[in-house]
Amino acid sequence: MTANRIPIMQVGASLLVSIQIELDDQTALQLQDDLTQRVSESGARGILLDVSSVWMIDSFIGRTISDTAAMARLLGAETVVVGVKPEVAITLVELGVPLRGVRTALNMDCAMELLESITSGS
C-alpha cells in the first residue's frame, strides 16, 4: 500500500499542515518523515497541525502525532494541534493517548496566536 502524502506549507517560520483525509498508519508515518525532514531543512520554529476534518484518531496515530511533536521539539520546533473534535478527544483520553508535549488550540485564531508567541520568542 502506498502512503498518501499530506502537503506541508511554509509560512514565515512556521509549517502549516492541514489534514483533509482520514489518516491511515502509512500516511501518518509518511507525514512524520516529511515533517521532520522539512523542519530540519527549513529551520522552522513552529508547526501547525490542523485536524478539524479528522473524525478518527486511533492509538497508533495519536502516538505518531505525539512522537512527531517530540521529534520536532528536538529539532527546535513546537507543535500546535488545532481543531480536535469532542469525539476524538474523548476517544484519545479513553485510549490513554493524551498527546503529551503537544500544544493544542481550539480554533485557527487561537492557534495562530499561540504560534506567533512561539516563533517570536527567541
Binding site: 494541534v81 474523548i90 484519545l92 481550539l106
Partner: protein
C-alpha cells in the same frame, strides 16, 4: 371437541354471567381500588380480556404454539397494565384483578363427569396463573422503565454547562462522579467548549461529596479531553477536608490549575484571557 375448545364454548355461552360475576367481585373486593378507573372503562377492559381469552383458547385448540396463541391476549394485558401503572395501581391489585376472574369462570362450567369438570378447572387454573404472572412481569418492567427514564433525566439535569463570560464556561458538578456520569459530563462539556469557543473551562466540584482515586481519575480524563481540544481547565471548590483526603491518597492533581472557590477560578480564567475586573469609579 378438545378440552380447550370446550372451555372456550362454555365461556362464550355464559359470557354475560362471567362478566357480571367478575365485575361484582372486583367491586366487592377490598383490595381492588375500583375508583382509580372508571366503571365503564373497567367493563370494557374486562370484556376485551374475556374475548381475547376465548380467542386464545380456540387458537390453542387449532394446534398453534402456546406462545403464538396467547400473544394477542398478552399484548392486551401489556396495554392495560401500563395504563394502570400510570393510574397508580399496585402489583397486588393487578394480580387480584386476574385471580378474581377464577371464581366466575369456574362457576360457568357445567355438565360432564366430575373428572371432566376437574380437568377443565385445572386448565383454567393454569391459564389464570400464567396471566397473573404476566401481569406481575409487565408491572415490573414498566416500573423499571420509569426508573431508567428518571435516571437519564437526572443525568441530563445534573450536568449544566454555564457560560460565565465570552470564552469561559463553568460546570458545577453535583453528586458522585462515576464512569457513566463522567462520560455525560465530558460530552456536554466538550460540546459546549466547541459551541462557545471557550478557551477556559472551570470544573466546580463543591457538590461532589468525596474525591477518591477513581473520581480524581475521571476528573483528569475530562481535563485532558478539554486540553486536547485546546481549552484550559481549572478545578475549583475543593473543600479543606477533601484536600486533606486527596493528599493522603496521593492525588495531587499536579498538572491542573486548582483554586479554592469559583470566584478565584473566574479571576484566574479572566487573567489568562488578558481581562481584569475593576471597580467602577464613582463620581461624587
Amino acid at each position: 371437541m378438545g378440552l380447550a375448545e370446550e372451555v372456550a364454548e362454555r365461556v362464550r355461552q355464559h359470557e354475560e354471567r362471567i362478566l357480571k360475576g367478575w365485575l361484582d367481585a372486583l367491586r366487592d373486593s377490598a383490595s381492588f381500588r375500583q375508583e382509580l378507573t372508571g366503571e365503564e372503562e373497567l367493563r370494557e377492559s374486562c370484556e376485551a380480556i374475556l374475548a381475547q381469552l376465548v380467542d386464545a383458547l380456540h387458537a390453542m385448540e387449532a394446534n398453534a404454539t402456546m406462545e403464538e396463541a396467547w400473544r394477542p391476549l398478552r399484548e392486551q394485558l401489556v396495554v392495560l397494565t401500563q395504563a394502570w401503572v400510570e393510574l397508580g395501581f399496585s402489583p397486588a391489585e393487578l394480580a387480584g384483578f386476574i385471580t378474581l376472574l377464577r371464581q366466575p369462570l369456574v362457576e360457568a362450567l357445567d355438565g360432564g363427569t366430575t373428572e371432566h369438570l376437574l380437568d377443565m378447572i385445572s386448565l383454567i387454573n393454569r391459564l389464570l396463573d400464567r396471566l397473573s404472572l404476566w401481569a406481575a412481569e409487565i408491572f415490573q418492567r414498566s416500573q423499571s422503565d420509569i426508573i431508567r427514564r428518571q435516571q437519564e433525566e437526572l443525568m441530563e439535569l445534573s450536568t449544566p454547562v454555564i457560560k460565565v463570560w465570552n470564552g469561559i464556561v463553568a460546570l458545577p458538578l453535583i453528586g458522585t462522579l462515576d464512569s457513566s456520569r463522567t462520560q455525560v459530563v465530558m460530552e456536554s462539556l466538550l460540546t459546549r467548549i466547541v459551541a462557545e469557543q471557550a478557551r477556559v473551562a472551570i470544573l466546580d466540584i463543591t457538590g461532589v461529596p468525596t474525591v477518591d482515586t477513581l473520581v480524581a481519575q475521571h476528573l483528569l480524563k475530562a481535563v485532558t479531553a478539554a486540553r486536547l481540544m485546546g481549552a484550559e481547565c481549572i478545578i475549583c471548590g475543593i473543600r479543606p477536608n477533601i484536600a486533606q483526603t486527596m493528599v493522603h491518597l496521593g492525588i495531587g492533581l499536579d498538572e491542573v490549575t486548582t483554586r479554592a472557590t469559583l470566584a478565584d477560578a473566574i479571576a484566574v480564567a479572566l487573567d489568562s484571557m488578558g481581562l481584569r475586573m475593576v471597580g467602577k469609579e464613582v463620581d461624587s
